[in-house]
Amino acid sequence: MERKLLFSAKNITKSFYGTQALKGVDLEVHEGEVVGLVGENGAGKSTLLKIIIGVQPQTSGEMFMQGKPFAPADPMAANKEGVGMVFQEQSLIVNLSVGQNIFFGHEKDFMKYGVVNWKKMYEDARKVLEEVNCGYINPKKKVIDLNFATRQMVEIAKVVNMTKSEHGDHKCLILLDEPTSVLNEAEVQNLFKEVRKLTAKGHAVVFVSHHLDEVLEISDRIYVYKDGENAGNMDIKDATEEKLYEAMVGHSTTTEYYHLADQRKPEEEVVLETRDMGVSGVFKHCDIKLRKGEILGICGVVGSGKEEICSVVCGDVKPTSGEMYVKGKKVSYSSPAQALQDGILMIPMERHAEGIVRNLSVAENMALSNAPLLSEHGIVLKKKVDEQADRWIKKLRIKTSSKDAELISLSGGNQQKVVFARALASEADIIILNHPTRGVDVGAKEEIYALTREVVAQGKSVILLGDTLDECIGMSNRVIVMKDGLITGEFQADADEKPSQVSLVTLMM
């Protein structure tokens, strides 16, 4: 069946401060088509979607919608051209009604004598809902009273409405970013029904998900992205999960990169253990053992629970079930300060929001976690703070104009090194590395890997959440895989016998 080309993106690149999120990707979508988009975390899917919807511009490359050049300055402009997106984070205003959400920002269109004619708006809302076969949803109901699946449908109705123009047969492109993460199986099927009705009318849908089975079920064609590049695109009749996995992960990087020669066997002593631990609604039944001198990697997609486990272990969040033991002693932490006293410290994922104090100096940022070590009789000695700063700046090759420079003036990679220095300078011997190389250039990444090996050789233990599967496998002694809040697998990752990425990905998605 020959379908008309609706949308195309050619050679899109996107760079952020020295890292290239997209290295020149293409995408083509035809009318009436569902295009699936898959790839690991960080492969570039969300970045591309954000570019298409106009949240951020591309660094280079062109886009075309219905044959005409397409370069939206913001989501509203994208909507006018017929492109709409349902974001992963819900974008409804919960205290307003369904109808008010659908037409939010366009209330003026219903004004009559200075008063908004809600009756007419609700009539129109009903029509919009029926278009996407959601006539059963009452437009007068407040969004906060709806369950997530229904809210998702309202989002789709809203987006479809926003992108439709009055001019006749205008076909739209609807982008769905992980739309099924909060839905159960029945609700997913319902969503697919709506998608098919949309495409039956000639509209096109781009479906991004890490649930490969779902992508295989609904898509006509599938694109695989890896490391910011096209790694394959196949018709649905040629696609299988195995082929997708292969395309997604590809080959692994050199052993030197992860300093495999320095990977040692951990000791027998268990320094941290969780038993049947869980946080209601996030993860459950997690049994983890961390040994002394071990690097334990945890892999999973966003929402699998791996980040939340780290929050619990480092003391930031209290578990709702299960127990934790540190060096044989049962513990319960109500703050990271308490966990630090037992030697646990986390280097957080969101550096800007949780990792640095931007206006404090490099030296001060480094001294956040170990002030008692730098004090004498309760007084923090500037001499010691400075000595510590000099030491780590030299050791980690941190590029900064001075140790008193404001941390915000350093590049991302160097900021991360400072956060690392803080963790290493503290008395923590169980360190949680939460995406430690995120936003860091390749050279600094390798330095961090070498550092991690050194740290572990000194008898400390590490829980690692890797930025990529490759990193996780390459660095760890052992890897745990999580999916949808449960541990789905565990693999030994000895230096001479690393598991294949495919076997992990199978359990992640």
């Binding site: 930031d316 957080p348 929001a353 404090l360 956040l368 923090v380 590049s411 991302g412």
Partner: protein, 333 residues
């Protein structure tokens, strides 16, 4: 792309100016007021001005770390009022019973300081543990302490002649500078030392700069925040004592206007509202700015009604200058 600092020489100077403009303001004010009325620099006026600053100095000491945290305490004035009447009323009662002048003073002082500290702890706990925003928690407490003050004494009370001897120390002078101001400055310098040289104090800057980071880095955020509020309560009571001794009387509303003055002083000194930056040394300068303005306006004959307008404008200007507008991602509410 390396984002290392490429600040030009001009930029460095501008930054230094921004950070220390308060001292320039002091000099400017002195010049202006002297021009307007040469009596301003009279020795007796200078003595007056300096001694006037002591209570405000103490209050500003307590408030500064709270602003460094990014919070605020609107109840400071009322707590000060309550402590003010409490100490005098208690002194009189204890003296009735014991007949000991200095004894009654010290007992009342210690009890009042403890009460103030406790009040601070209460506010701190409700703000920190129950996550009530500080402006509303302190707003609520403002009315609670106001009522408390009126309950303790619904009208002003005088220091009885027999007890006047306990207030004599307030008049001691060392040159042009009175003992109270020296004590107040020593106090604020002591707190400054605490803030810059102990783990607790340094953490306050980290918490104010980025509370999440401080928490994850293992800083005892909750505990330290409560301590800051506790010390603030202590300062309110201490300042109240200064006011009582100076006026040799107490009144249930005497401290109310100090909330505005204290905030103006701290802000005028240069402590930023963004949190994470500020200094007690700067607040010393800020206190002098406010004192000079108050005293200067009196000398020049400006109607007292303009004072509120002036303090309000000072806050607006100082805050507008020091707010970091470059942080685009920050949502200000």
């Amino acid at each position: 792309m390396d984002k290392t600092s490429t600040v030009s020489k001009k930029g460095v100077w501008k930054k230094r100016l921004m950070q220390n403009y308060s001292i320039l303001v002091v000099i400017l004010m002195l010049i202006i007021f002297t021009i307007l009325n040469p009596n301003f620099l009279n020795s007796s006026n200078v003595v007056n001005l300096l001694s006037d600053s002591a209570p405000l100095m103490v209050l500003a000491a307590g408030m500064t770390p709270i602003l460094i945290l990014g919070s605020i305490d609107l109840s400071l004035g009322s707590l000060c009022s309550a402590a003010n009447v409490m100490i005098l009323v208690m002194m009189r009662k204890v003296f009735e019973v014991t007949g000991n002048t200095y004894g009654s003073f010290f007992i009342s002082l210690i009890v009042t300081l403890a009460a103030g500290t406790l009040a601070g702890v209460l506010l701190g706990v409700i703000h920190v543990k129950l996550k009530v925003p500080s402006f509303i928690a302190s707003l609520a407490f403002m009315s609670v302490w106001s009522s408390a003050a009126l309950i303790i004494s619904s009208s002003s009370v005088k220091l009885p002649k027999a007890l006047k001897v306990t207030s004599d120390w307030y008049k001691i002078q060392i040159g042009p500078i009175g003992l109270p101001l020296i004590l107040a400055v020593l106090f604020i310098l002591g707190y400054h030392f605490l803030l810059t040289r102990t783990a607790f104090g340094r953490s306050i800057f980290a918490i104010g700069g980025n509370e999440r980071t401080a928490r994850i880095a293992g800083i005892k955020v909750d505990r330290y925040k409560i301590i800051v509020f506790a010390i603030n309560g202590f300062c309110a009571a201490l300042g109240a004592m200064f006011l009582m001794v100076k006026a040799q009387s107490a009144a249930p509303t005497v401290g109310d206007s100090f909330t505005l003055m204290t905030i103006s002083a701290v802000v005028a000194g240069g402590t930023s509202l963004v949190g994470g930056a500020g200094s007690l040394l700067k607040s010393i300068v800020g206190v002098f700015i406010i004192s000079i303005i108050k005293n200067g306006m009196n000398i020049v004959g400006v109607n007292a009604y303009w004072q509120k307008i002036v303090y309000g404008l000072i806050i607006l200007v100082a805050v507008a200058i020091s707010i970091d507008r470059t942080s685009r991602s920050r949502v200000v509410k």
